[in-house]
């Protein structure tokens, strides 16, 4: 019998908590290729999955890892892979395949310094826009980020749930600091975790149209082997799944991809607020920088500065309405990031003259500290 971990307290690093979150979400297949600082996710999955009748496989690279993950999901099993920048670049091809075929899966990118081999053991947030636009072609995407060990667990569960519900790949961005920090964490009781499974068809197989539109824009998904023989292709396809070159079918198909995500904005765009109610200035942060920002806001408050924080858990679709509301209320916002300004770009895009957007950037492989953010807040 596999050991029962639910309800017990552990000293876990972020990567390990991600593996546990995945298993709690129902993930039973993992394929990956070793890379710092993500390897501990693979290692823990190689140990844990066979305990719960799941399957782990180490593939020959990240292209094949995501290929195998998509294949397993097509056969009805919740699947995940985890990597860092160089591997995430290799995954872009099959990430697009998961988008166009609407196959649920979770891809974790534990960000390290880039480009190329970059800074393998240092944190960075340089892959944010790659997560949004890395694969070619117009496509909607869900990108989540984590800032603590407990979020590594809970946000992976959310990632699986959104992926299953909307039939999209979900990218989870972590970073080297979150991945390797150890915190005490109690794995929640199994029945306290909400788990969403994809909707499967309930019509007779001869009626099943695997890509037929409906009010949610998310067609039910049959697993291969369940009697609903159908075709899956990376070519743009019609409601039956067969390639089409008809402009009306192409447009309807691609627009549905966007519509299904837009319909879900309310639950997909996750943010966390701290001291925002009466804030006059605000920090917009995500990942490990949000931890520093939280502390900086507390420091500012103790000095009488009315500062607040919105932590972006969802980076894309960019939580525009929440951010805009804070912009209306504040005389300035600060976006600290371990890149040259990828989310501050988004903030500037949605700021139609409402406030002043300041950025604060570090790309030297060092975490942005609370004091640095506090000093920026004092200047604002």
């Amino acid at each position: 019998m596999a050991p029962e971990l639910n309800g017990k307290k552990f000293l876990l690093q972020g990567n390990e908590a991600m593996a546990e979150g995945a298993i709690a979400a129902g993930c039973r297949f993992f394929a990956g290729y070793p890379i710092t600082p993500a390897s501990e996710i693979s290692e823990r999955m190689s140990y844990r999955l066979p305990q719960v009748d799941g399957t782990f496989i180490q593939m020959e690279d990240e292209i094949s890892s995501l290929g195998a993950v998509i294949g397993a999901s097509l056969a009805g099993v919740k699947s995940m892979t985890a990597t860092s920048g160089p591997g995430f670049s290799l995954m872009q091809e099959n990430l697009g395949y998961a988008c166009i075929t609407e196959v649920p899966c979770v891809v974790v990118n534990v960000m390290r310094g880039g480009p190329s081999t970059g800074l393998p053991t240092s944190p960075a947030q340089g892959d944010v826009l790659q997560a949004r636009w890395g694969t070619h072609g117009d496509h909607p995407v869900i990108v989540l980020s984590v800032s603590s060990v407990s979020e590594c667990f809970s946000i992976i569960v959310t990632a699986f749930n959104l992926s299953e519900k909307y039939r999209v790949p979900v990218v989870v961005l972590s970073d080297e600091v979150v991945a390797h920090s150890r915190e005490t964490f109690t794995i929640p009781a199994a029945d306290s975790i909400e788990v969403v499974d994809r909707i499967v068809p309930n019509v007779p197989p001869e009626w099943y149209k695997p890509y037929e539109d409906n009010s949610r824009g998310v067609p039910p998904m049959a697993a291969m082997g369940d009697g609903y023989r159908h075709h899956v292709t990376g070519l743009v396809h019609d409601a039956h799944g067969f390639p089409t070159e008809r402009p009306d079918e192409i447009e309807a198909f691609l627009k549905r991809q966007f519509r299904k995500i837009t319909n879900g904005f309310f639950e997909i765009q996750i943010t966390k607020k701290f001291n925002i109610e009466d804030a006059e200035i605000a920090v917009i942060a995500y990942g490990s920088v949000a931890r520093s920002a939280h502390r900086a806001v507390a420091m500012a408050r103790s000095q009488g500065i009315k500062a607040g924080l919105i932590q972006l858990v969802t980076l894309f679709p960019f939580p525009k309405s929440t951010v805009v509301n804070v912009m209306r209320q504040c005389k300035a916002v600060l976006v600290p990031e371990m890149n040259m300004g990828q989310i501050s770009r988004e903030a500037k895009r949605v700021n139609t003259g409402l406030t002043k957007v300041f950025k604060y950037n570090r790309i030297d492989g060092q975490l942005i500290s609370p004091v640095e953010i506090f000093e920026e807040l004092q200047k604002m």
Partner: protein, 276 residues
């Protein structure tokens, strides 16, 4: 009353949905598809239990036409998707069809690792010695000295021997056939699908349009005759690869070995893990 072949067509082809197909008249892909269907019929497999996956290329269109669980993946990656499907549901029969460029250029790494790993999959590689779909560029199996649209003066690279490569990489079952030797091809595919472990069937085929035309074999009959004249049956001697337009090459079964496949091995891993 339908003839046997008509019955098979009705049973296996998505005839009312996906025809006409994209292949040129006389293309060897149709012979491969016929052989595959006959092999599956003889093995008495349920259509629901078959997954037929492909990469990208003319060969990549093959799954579109048959009534299985079908999957048209990315270029070179069919075996990676097949790996995930088989591991997620080992009761499925997973067959992948690939072109020579698909399997040995962009997908070469996946191919040798799938062979090494020995997961129970069947890989069919249609070797037409050229990139067909993109217009006749040189592939890793274009013979030395041949003409192509990217070797207009002569190909100075040497051809991969796909079947021999599969043997060296550890595949449990390896065979080579041709679209001329159709009766033998049925049997090779049947054996390959039936084999537990990774099986490879390399099929020498004719692309008279993109390969033959530039190499004095511009029609299917000439190319089929070329296959007939250059293929020799495997005796007990060593195998000969199809690496030049003049040399003979071996057809038949090149390897048939028994070793535990990945699924069997992984069952043991689960037992160990669950013993705690």
């Amino acid at each position: 009353m339908f003839s046997g072949m008509t019955e098979l067509r009705h049973k296996y082809l998505r005839h009312h949905k996906k025809f006409p197909h994209v292949w040129c008249p006389g293309c060897g892909n149709g012979i491969v598809l016929g052989a595959l269907i006959r092999a599956i019929e003889r093995l008495n497999l349920e259509k629901d239990d078959i997954v037929f996956a492909s990469g990208i290329g003319c060969s990549g269109r093959m799954p579109t036409y048959v009534d299985f669980n079908t999957l048209h993946t990315t270029h070179g990656r069919a075996l990676t998707f097949a790996t995930g499907i088989k591991l997620a549901n080992p009761s499925l029969n997973v067959i992948a069809v690939m072109g020579d460029g698909d399997a040995t250029a962009i997908g070469g790494n996946h191919f040798i690792h799938a062979a090494r790993r020995n997961l129970d999959l069947t890989a069919i590689i249609i070797n037409n010695q050229i990139y067909g779909m993109t217009g006749g560029q040189a592939s890793p199996t274009t013979p030395y000295g041949a003409q192509s649209t990217t070797s207009p003066f002569s190909n100075i690279e040497h051809a991969f021997s796909i079947a021999e490569l599969a043997v060296a990489a550890g595949a449990s079952f390896v065979a080579r056939g041709t679209v001329y030797h159709a009766a033998q091809l049925d049997k090779l595919l049947e054996k390959g699908i039936n084999k537990i472990g990774f099986s490879v069937v390399e099929i020498m085929s004719n692309c008279h349009v993109q390969f033959g035309r530039r190499n004095q074999m511009g029609d299917p009959v000439t190319m089929l005759n070329w296959l007939k004249e250059h293929a020799v049956s495997k005796d007990n001697g060593s195998s000969m690869p199809p690496d030049s337009l003049d040399a003979k090459f071996t057809i038949g079964i090149l390897a048939d070995t028994d070793k535990p496949d990945y699924i069997e091995e992984y069952k043991k891993i689960r037992l160990k893990a669950q013993r705690g």
